[in-house]
C-alpha cells in the first residue's frame, strides 16, 4: 500500500469485512432497521438508525392520534389523519422512503467496506424537517393571504399620536325610561317641549332578549331636536347604573339625524344579566341617544398621561431594583471572587456555594421571579422591583466578582512595600482598580433593568408593561402604540447615556 492510500483510508474509516452478504443485510434491515448495518460491522450506525426510525415512528403516530383523536384502531386513525391533514401523507411517504433507504444503505455498507454512504442521512433530515413542519403547524398560505390583517393594528401602533390629543367634549343627550317587564301600568311617553332634544320610545315597556337567543321587544325610537348630521349613539343604562351601547348584528348602533335634527330607528332590546339580588317585580331601564362634539382647545389625553406616568414608574422600578441590587451584590461579590476565597478549603467551599446559588438565581428568568413576587406582595411596582433585585444581585454579583478576580496584584504589592496598612492598601491599590468596572456594570445593569421592567409589567409587576398588556387585551392599539413608542424612546436614550458614561469610566 502506498503512502497516499494510507493517508486516505484512515483506519477508523475501514470496517472489518461484513458478516453477511449485501442482499441479506438489506433484507435484515427491512425486518429491523439498522440490523443489516450492525451485522455489516457498522454497529453504531445501525444503532443510530434504529433509534432514529423508532423516534420518528413514535412522533408520527403521535401526530396521527392528535389529528384524529376520536377514531379507534391505528388503521382508521391513519386513514382519517391522511384525510384531515394531507400534509401527513407527505410525511408518511418520506418515512417510508427512509425505511427503504435504510435497507439500501445496509446493502451498500455490506458490499464495500471502504465506503461510507451518507445519502440516508439526507433522507433522515428531510423526514425530521417534514415532521417539524407538521408539528409547528407552519402555514405559509395563511401568512401570505392574510398578511394584510396586520395592517390596521400595525398602523395604529406605528403612529398612535391621534390618541395623545383630546378635546373637551360637549354631550347632547335625551333619554326615555323603559319598564321591564310590561306590567299593564305603563309610563307615559316623552313629549316634545321647546327646542330641547327629546327621545320618544314606543312602547315604554318590554322584555329583554334572553340568553337562548329569544329576541326581546322591538322598540321604535324617535329623536327630535338633535344636532343635524352628527353621529348619535344609542346607549342603555341598566337598573344598577351600568351604561352600555346598543348593538345590532354585532355593530354599535349609530344614527344620523336629518336637517331638522330628527331621526327614527328600531332596536331589539338587548340581553343583559342582572345580579341575583335583583328580585323586584319590575325595573326601569333607561335608553338614550347621545351626541358628542369636540369643543374647546386640544389637550393631552388621559391615555397619554397614563402612559407617561407608567413610563416614569418603570424607570424608577429599574432604578430602585438596581439600587438594592448593587447594595446586596457588592458584599456577595467578594465571596464569589476566587482570588480572595482560595486561601483555605472552607473559604473555597463558600466560594463554590455562593457561585452556585448565583448561577441558579441568574438562570431563572426575572419574569418567573415576578410571578413569585406577585404572589407574595401582590400586583404592582414593588413586585417588579423584587423580581429585578433578585436577578440583579445574581448578575451583578457575577460581574463584580469577575472584576475583583481580574485585579492586578502588582500595585497591591507596591503599596504594601511602602509600609502602608491593610486598609490603606485596599483604598489605594484595590479600590481604584475595581471602581471603574463596578460603575460600568452598574449603569449597564440599570439599562437592562429598565428594559426588563417592561417585560415584568406583563405579569403584573407594575410599570408600563402592565399598561401595555391591558391596552393590547382591550384592542386599544393606539394607546398600546403610545406605550411602545415611549418604551422605545426611553430605551434608546438610556442605551446612549449608559454607553457614554461607560466609555468615560473604562
Amino acid at each position: 500500500m502506498s503512502n497516499n492510500t494510507k493517508k486516505l483510508a484512515h483506519k477508523d474509516d475501514i470496517r472489518q469485512p461484513s458478516l453477511v452478504k449485501p442482499p441479506i443485510a438489506a433484507v435484515l434491515s427491512l425486518i429491523l432497521p439498522g440490523l443489516g448495518q450492525a451485522l455489516a460491522r457498522a454497529m453504531r450506525r445501525g444503532l443510530l438508525l434504529l433509534l432514529t426510525i423508532a423516534s420518528i415512528g413514535g412522533l408520527l403516530l403521535w401526530r396521527f392520534k392528535l389529528t384524529a383523536p376520536r377514531d379507534e384502531g391505528w388503521v382508521n386513525i391513519i386513514k382519517k389523519g391522511w384525510h384531515l391533514d394531507p400534509f401527513l401523507i407527505a410525511v408518511t411517504v418520506l418515512f417510508a422512503l427512509l425505511y427503504i433507504w435504510i435497507a439500501v444503505d445496509a446493502y451498500a455498507i455490506a458490499k464495500d467496506r471502504t465506503r461510507t454512504p451518507i445519502g440516508v442521512f439526507f433522507v433522515l433530515i428531510a423526514v425530521f424537517f417534514a415532521l417539524g413542519w407538521q408539528i409547528g403547524q407552519i402555514d405559509i398560505v395563511t401568512l401570505i393571504t392574510q398578511a394584510d390583517e396586520a395592517g390596521p393594528p400595525l398602523g395604529r401602533v406605528a403612529w398612535p399620536w391621534e390618541k395623545a390629543i383630546a378635546y373637551e367634549q360637549s354631550i347632547l343627550a335625551a333619554s326615555a325610561d323603559i319598564r321591564v317587564p310590561c306590567t299593564g301600568n305603563e309610563l307615559a311617553p316623552n313629549e316634545i317641549a321647546g327646542s330641547e332634544p327629546v327621545l320618544i320610545a314606543t312602547p315604554t315597556c318590554g322584555t329583554l332578549s334572553t340568553q337562548d337567543g329569544e329576541a326581546g321587544t322591538i322598540l321604535h325610537l324617535e329623536g327630535h331636536n338633535f344636532a343635524p348630521g352628527e353621529d348619535t349613539a344609542i346607549k342603555w343604562k341598566d337598573p344598577i347604573g351600568n351604561i352600555f351601547r346598543q348593538r345590532q348584528e354585532g355593530e354599535y348602533v349609530v344614527v344620523i339625524p336629518d336637517a331638522e335634527g330628527y331621526f327614527e330607528t328600531d332596536i331589539i332590546m338587548p340581553y343583559r344579566l342582572l345580579p341575583p339580588s335583583a328580585t323586584d317585580p319590575f325595573y326601569v331601564w333607561v335608553i338614550f341617544g347621545e351626541q358628542t362634539a369636540d369643543v374647546g382647545a386640544a389637550h393631552l389625553s388621559d391615555d397619554f398621561k397614563l402612559v407617561v406616568e407608567k413610563m416614569i414608574e418603570t424607570i424608577f422600578i429599574g432604578m430602585m431594583a438596581t439600587f438594592f441590587g448593587v447594595i446586596l451584590a457588592v458584599p456577595v461579590s467578594f465571596f464569589a471572587a476566587r482570588n480572595l476565597m482560595s486561601a483555605s478549603p472552607i473559604t473555597l467551599a463558600v466560594y463554590y456555594l455562593v457561585r452556585g446559588v448565583l448561577n441558579i438565581i441568574r438562570s431563572i428568568e426575572p419574569i418567573i421571579w415576578a410571578i413569585i413576587a406577585v404572589i407574595v406582595v401582590g400586583l404592582g411596582p414593588f413586585a417588579g422591583i423584587l423580581a429585578l433585585v433578585f436577578h440583579s444581585i445574581a448578575a451583578l454579583g457575577k460581574l463584580y466578582s469577575e472584576a475583583i478576580e481580574s485585579i492586578d496584584p502588582g500595585p497591591i504589592e507596591a503599596i504594601q512595600a511602602t509600609g502602608a496598612t491593610w486598609l490603606q492598601t485596599v483604598v489605594y491599590a484595590v479600590v481604584p482598580q475595581i471602581v471603574p468596572p463596578f460603575v460600568s456594570f452598574t449603569i449597564y445593569r440599570w439599562d437592562i433593568n429598565v428594559r426588563m421592567s417592561t417585560i415584568i409589567g406583563l405579569v403584573g409587576g407594575g410599570g408600563i408593561g402592565f399598561l401595555l398588556v391591558q391596552y393590547i387585551r382591550i384592542l386599544d392599539y393606539r394607546s398600546a402604540g403610545m406605550a411602545v413608542w415611549f418604551i422605545a424612546i426611553t430605551v434608546a436614550i438610556l442605551d446612549y447615556v449608559s454607553a457614554e458614561i461607560r466609555a468615560r469610566f473604562v
Binding site: 512595600a417 511602602t418 509600609g419 502602608a420 496598612t421 490603606q424
Partner: protein, 268 residues
C-alpha cells in the same frame, strides 16, 4: 547595613526558591543580583521587605531581624526600604501624583490617607521627586497614559517618597528598551552616589551590570554561585557570565540587543 543569614524559602507547592543564602550589603553599595528567571532573584528581594515570608533564616536590617517583625514594627522598617518593580506596579487608573503620594502612606496617619489627605510637606516632596525625574508635567495624567519609561520613573519617584535608606529594584529595566534602561539606571546610580542610598538590584544584561554595579552576586537555582567585586565584574568574560546564565545570556550594546556569540567584544 543588611545582613542575610541562611535564608531559605520553600513555597507551598514545594518549590525551593532559595537555599541557604547568606550575604552582606554594606551601606552605600550598588549590589547587583544576577541570574536566570526562576533562579530566586525576585523571591530574595521580596523576602528582604517581607512581601514574601521566608521559611527560614535571618534578615538583619540595621540590627533588626526583619524576618521576625509583625504589624506596626514591620511597616515602620518597611518604609525605610523603597522598591521598584519590573512591571512598574503603578495603579494604572490613578493619577501620577496620587501614585507618587502613595509612597508616603507609611508616614501618613491612616484616617487622613483614607480621605486622600496628605500634608503640604508631602505634596512638596512629591513635586520635588517628580521634578527630579523630569515628569513634572505628567503629574495630573493617569498612570496608564504614560509610556513605559515614564511609568518606571513614577515608580522611582514613589520609592523616593519613602526617603528610603535602601532601594530594592526587581529587574527595573527588563520591560524597557536599552536606551531607557540606561536612563533609569542612571537615576538609581545618582541616588546611590549623591544621596548615599544603598541599592540592591537584579539585572539581566552583563554590560549594565559591569557599568553600574559595585558588587555582584550570582544566583542559580536558589543558591549563590558567584560573588564578585567591582574589579571582578569588569574583568568578567562572556564565558563566565554564561556559566551563571547558561546559553541564553544576552548583552545590551550601545542600545542594540544581540546574542553574545555574535557580539563577543561589545562595548560596555
Amino acid at each position: 547595613m543588611l545582613e542575610i543569614r541562611n535564608l531559605t524559602k520553600i513555597y507551598d507547592d514545594g518549590t525551593v526558591a532559595l537555599k541557604n543564602v547568606s550575604f552582606t550589603v554594606n551601606d552605600g553599595e550598588f549590589l547587583v543580583v544576577i541570574g536566570l528567571s526562576g533562579s530566586g532573584k525576585s523571591t530574595l528581594l521580596r523576602c528582604i521587605n517581607r512581601l514574601i515570608d521566608p521559611t527560614e533564616g535571618e534578615i538583619i536590617w540595621n540590627g533588626v531581624d526583619m524576618a521576625q517583625l509583625q504589624g506596626e514594627e514591620l511597616r515602620k522598617n518597611r518604609r525605610q526600604i523603597g522598591m521598584i518593580f519590573q512591571h512598574f506596579n503603578l495603579v494604572r487608573r490613578s493619577t501620577v501624583l496620587t501614585n507618587v503620594l502613595a509612597g508616603r502612606l507609611g508616614y501618613t496617619p491612616q484616617r487622613n490617607s483614607l480621605l486622600g489627605r496628605f500634608s503640604e510637606n508631602d505634596k512638596q516632596k512629591a513635586w520635588t521627586a517628580l521634578r527630579r525625574l523630569g515628569i513634572e508635567d505628567q503629574a495630573h495624567k493617569l498612570a496608564r497614559e504614560l509610556s513605559g519609561g515614564q511609568q518606571q520613573r513614577v515608580g522611582v519617584a514613589r520609592a523616593l517618597m519613602q526617603e528610603p535608606l535602601m532601594i530594592l529594584a526587581d529587574e527595573p529595566v527588563a520591560s524597557l528598551d536599552p536606551v531607557l534602561a540606561h536612563s533609569i539606571l542612571q537615576y538609581l546610580e545618582a541616588l546611590n552616589q549623591e544621596d548615599g542610598m544603598t541599592v540592591l538590584c537584579s539585572l539581566h544584561y552583563l554590560d549594565l551590570v559591569q557599568q553600574y554595579s559595585t558588587r555582584v552576586i550570582g544566583l542559580r537555582d536558589g543558591e549563590i554561585v558567584y560573588h564578585g567585586s567591582r574589579a571582578d565584574i569588569r574583568a568578567m568574560t562572556d564565558e563566565e557570565f554564561k556559566d551563571i546564565y547558561g546559553e541564553e545570556a544576552v548583552r545590551v550594546s550601545a542600545g542594540l540587543e544581540g546574542n553574545l556569540n555574535d557580539n563577543a567584544e561589545g562595548a560596555a
